[in-house]
């Protein structure tokens, strides 16, 4: 059986060979430590076009990702405190959550982040899921025939992630004009669309990232208010049994969600 390093060597060689004439890529192939090889692998996957891939590549990639993903502490619903009926907060990496579905904050291309090693959630989810995720997204987008609108949702397999599904939504982008009523409506629409598609597919639990905050500039506090209000209104109106995790990464978001859901200490 190959060890992780041997797998990475195979995968990086395969991915470099797909672009034999790209000098910028080939200048990086001197990666020697395991971490450097992981970074090279990640970057190569990030820029990879949604082209077919061999069975052998997938087998070795899946073996690598399974072991890499399991090295981290995997968190499931039973490890979390139910802060309000059906509602949970989790601070940490969304790709370490073993829930039915995790929400990806995508862009309208819906193919995953194309910037090598960019630290956005879209990049991290696609990296840990495997190259199959972009291939499935590409099939969905080709069938749709146009870009993905803001405030809607698509669902895919989660491949090598501990979750079963990834729900992809494009949140509103806030420019220098700031938050407008339309942008607030669209952020709520992103949450509703994810919940609806989760229920349509019979998911038991779904973990939301903080949609539109960060790169998309939505103010954290207002975004959290809309997130919680929309989820609670949906659960009340539909009597859905979905269990909903608000997944935060930054301390500021953890504080905000705690204050909204549990109250100030």
């Amino acid at each position: 059986m190959m060890n992780q390093e041997a797998r990475l060597d195979y995968l990086n060689h395969y991915l470099l060979e797909e672009n034999p004439n790209d000098e910028a890529l080939h200048s990086q192939k001197g990666a020697s430590s395991l971490d450097e090889k992981i970074a090279l692998f990640r970057g190569l996957c990030n820029i990879r076009e949604p082209e077919p891939v061999t069975e052998q590549f997938l087998e070795i990639q899946d073996a690598f990702l399974t072991e890499w993903n399991q090295e981290r502490k995997i968190t499931s619903l039973k490890d979390l405190e139910e802060v309000k009926p059906q509602l949970y907060i989790f601070q940490g990496d969304i790709t370490s959550l073993a829930v039915s579905g995790i929400v990806n904050a995508a862009n309208s291309e819906l193919l995953g982040c194309l910037l090598p090693n960019h630290n956005c959630i879209d990049n991290i989810i696609h990296t840990h899921a495997g190259v199959q995720l972009r291939l499935e997204c590409n099939r969905i987008m080709e069938a749709q025939g146009r870009k993905e609108p803001v405030g809607k949702a698509k669902i895919t397999n989660a491949y090598n992630l501990p979750a079963d599904y990834v729900v992809h939504t494009v949140g509103p982008y806030i420019d220098e004009r700031g938050v407008t009523p339309l942008k607030e409506e669209l952020l709520g629409s992103s949450y509703r669309s994810c919940l609806q598609i989760a229920d349509e597919h019979g998911l038991e639990s779904i973990a939301f990232c903080c949609i539109s905050t960060g790169e998309f500039n939505f103010p954290n506090e207002r975004a959290a208010e809309i997130a919680v209000q929309t989820v609670q209104a949906y659960l009340n109106a539909t009597k859905s049994n979905l269990k909903v995790v608000f997944n935060v990464f930054k301390d500021i978001d953890f504080e905000i969600y705690r204050n909204i859901l549990v109250g100030k200490e």
Partner: protein, 110 residues
């Protein structure tokens, strides 16, 4: 009579209801570069009437009212930036008939 819903204007003239973009919506989406009308003669409230790609966003526009589509602004397919116009005769999306007048009356005043 003119009302608003879903960030759109709905103008009633006799039995024809014309749906167009509000200036706020135009500001939020930026220059429109691509539009695709949904097909089908009758549409239910909150169903899509138009998908657009603009400089600031990609958006599905949903009708605030149920009705029968009698005309689409086909000129906007060839020239999507017509939807950025301030002129009502250029920035409209669809014209509906068979609209429930009570539902129209319930919409917010424009």
């Amino acid at each position: 009579m003119k009302k608003r819903g879903n960030f759109l204007f709905i103008e009633k003239q006799d039995d024809v209801y014309t749906i167009s973009l509000t200036p706020e919506l135009q500001d939020d989406i930026g220059t429109v570069g691509f539009v695709e009308f949904s097909t089908g003669d009758t549409i239910q409230a909150e169903e899509p009437i138009l998908n657009l790609e603009a400089s600031k966003t990609v958006l599905e526009i949903n009708t605030p009212l149920t009705g029968k589509v009698v005309e689409r602004n086909e000129a906007a397919v060839k020239e999507p930036s017509l939807l950025n116009s301030a002129k009502p005769e250029e920035n409209w999306i669809v014209k509906l008939t068979d609209v429930d007048e009570a539902a129209f009356n319930k919409l917010e005043e424009a």
